[in-house]
């Protein structure tokens, strides 16, 4: 950790280096912060530590092989990475998707949204509360609930985080017999657990003092930087792709889009908590209304050139727990993809950090960074 002292008009400004291995940096992200006492003057963020060149890989792998690789982008909600890619390829090669498969995709996406928001909720309180205090209590509660989701997903698809569930034309795994009973039990139990979290956090002046009026993100800056998802809805803009451009079967379910006007850390946290409640509603309607029938419109894949693409360009986006997760494909008619642009939400949500942190205190850096809920597989692609 090198310290450069800058002599400017007499008193020293200290470059503190919140390095890539900092306990509160949610992954590999380095910030050089110029500090004057406790107040932050300037922030230089460094990203790219987890850059794996997924877009270059997309040009060599065939679409079928690229799907499991895409799971690893936003590793907290792997389904919402495969979803846009599948939608885009299905549009290009006009493959239809049976009704039951659409329902299964929505169920998996909403389950993963809850599990990803639980990870946010746990690590957010852990950062603010400290590992030897109230923070770790809430962290453990959140992960106790998340374990139940991961068990259901493991029984269904065989793996907990990287499901590799979606394939072109439908879904690869059908739900196991006792699925809806497990899901219903989990939802019922999870509903009063959320009430418990709210009681524990909401009217707790310590939490409110640390999150209200901290890290205010105005509407215009959020829109210009392309922030989407809970970060945008936290600043008062009710924009959610599930409602704005209903893909798959989202138009069959009614649910609200929470949004809060004042754009501080508290409202971003509250949006995510309300979204968990909305996801419960969607899951209930989905599991009740799921039709029977085939889960795939194409024969099971045999060879890697399973899908032939005609020439063309397409952009499809999906509402992932972190925002608009889109895929822009240029295909040149042969089997591979000429260019794959992954519009992952956290890269744009994170670009407001220099704006948010100017003038904040050191203790707030943790809360603000936590409220953006960054996942660095997403940022560095």
């Amino acid at each position: 950790m090198e310290v450069k002292r800058i002599e400017s008009n007499g008193f020293e400004e200290l470059w503190v280096n919140m390095g890539p291995q900092h306990p509160a940096s949610h992954g590999v992200f380095r910030m050089q912060i110029k500090v004057d006492g406790e107040v932050i003057k300037e922030v230089i963020p460094h990203i790219g530590y987890l850059h794996r060149g997924v877009e270059k890989l997309g040009e060599f792998l065939t679409p079928v092989q690229f799907l499991p690789v895409l799971d690893r982008n936003d590793y907290l909600s792997s389904v919402s990475n495969e979803f846009p890619f599948a939608l885009a390829i299905e549009k290009l090669a006009n493959i239809s998707v049976p009704e039951r498969a659409e329902y299964l995709r929505v169920i998996a996406a909403e389950l993963m949204r809850i599990s990803s928001h639980l990870v946010f909720f746990g690590t957010f309180c852990l950062d603010m509360g400290g590992a030897l205090g109230g923070g770790s209590t809430i962290f453990l509660y959140a992960f106790r609930e998340r374990e139940k989701i991961l068990d259901i997903l493991e029984k269904w698809t065989g793996s907990r985080m990287h499901l590799n569930l979606i394939t072109f034309g439908g879904v690869r795994y059908d739900i196991y017999p006792g699925f809806d009973k497990d899901l219903k039990d989990f939802l019922k139990d999870f509903e009063n657990k959320i009430k418990e979290y709210e009681d524990m956090i909401e009217n707790n002046p310590v939490f409110l003092a640390r999150t209200k009026k901290v890290g205010i993100l105005p509407k215009e800056i959020a829109m210009e930087h392309g922030c989407s998802g809970p970060v945008l809805r936290g600043s008062g803009i009710k924009f959610d792709l599930r409602k704005a451009k209903p893909y798959s079967v989202y138009n069959k379910f009614e649910f609200e889009i929470p949004s809060f006007p004042d754009g501080d850390v508290y409202s971003r946290y509250k949006v995510r908590l309300m979204e968990m409640k909305e996801s419960i509603k969607i899951l209930r309607q989905a599991i009740d209304g799921i039709p029977s029938g085939p889960i795939n419109s194409l024969m099971p894949l045999k060879v890697k050139t399973h899908i032939k693409l005609k020439e063309g360009e397409v952009y499809e986006a999906v509402e992932s727990p972190r925002g608009e997760n889109g895929v822009y494909i240029v295909s040149d008619g042969k089997f591979g993809l000429y260019r794959v642009k992954l519009r992952t939400p956290t890269f744009y949500n994170l670009s407001v950090i220099p704006y948010l942190l100017k003038g904040a205190l050191i203790a707030d850096v943790v809360a603000i960074l936590g409220s953006l809920d960054p996942v660095f597989g997403d940022v560095d692609r």
């Binding site: 792998l61 092989q65 795994y173 009681d199 029977s292």
Partner: protein, 157 residues
């Protein structure tokens, strides 16, 4: 202010959820997809794999290498001279199991399998057959046949 205390108190009297892992093993789900493989044998002990290289073709991180041998085995079926699967780069995406025409390569439902050095991660043919002997009953429910039956687009219940 007091609600938080009430909740921690309530949790004080709830049963803790920790599973004492070394003593009590976790019950593995039937379709578990953990990256450990085995080459299956049919009833009279001959390897089922016919070295058709479909799995080598489909694998996203092409970790499978199949070297078909010239002659046929007793049953008149081709068999792989050399079958190598490098686990260090395997994504556990189960494509190879799905495309295998006669369920030769299958996944094993085992958790916490580890090796001391990197070379052991490259599973040779003997190792894969030996795995089959060792974990015969732990084979995952998702064999190639099962997956294809589930995915074929015909009416289901």
């Amino acid at each position: 202010m007091v609600k938080a205390l009430y909740i921690t108190l309530k949790n004080l009297f709830r049963k803790p959820v920790t599973v004492m892992y070394p003593d009590k093993k976790r019950e593995m789900p039937k379709r578990m997809r953990s990256p450990l493989f085995a080459l299956t044998k049919d009833e009279d002990g001959i390897i089922k794999c016919i070295a058709c290289k479909l799995c080598e073709n489909i694998c996203p991180s092409n970790v499978i290498k199949v070297l078909p041998s010239k002659e046929k085995n007793e049953k008149g079926r081709p068999y792989p001279e050399e079958y190598e699967l490098n686990l260090s780069a395997c994504l556990a995406c189960e494509y190879c199991v799905q495309v295998c025409p006669d369920d030769a390569i299958v996944m094993i439902r085992i958790f916490g399998w580890a090796t001391k050095n990197k070379e052991d991660l490259i599973l040779k043919k003997e190792k894969l057959l030996e795995n089959y002997e060792k974990y015969k009953d732990l084979i995952s429910e998702c064999t190639g046949e099962f997956l294809r039956k589930m995915q074929t687009p015909r009416r289901q219940n």
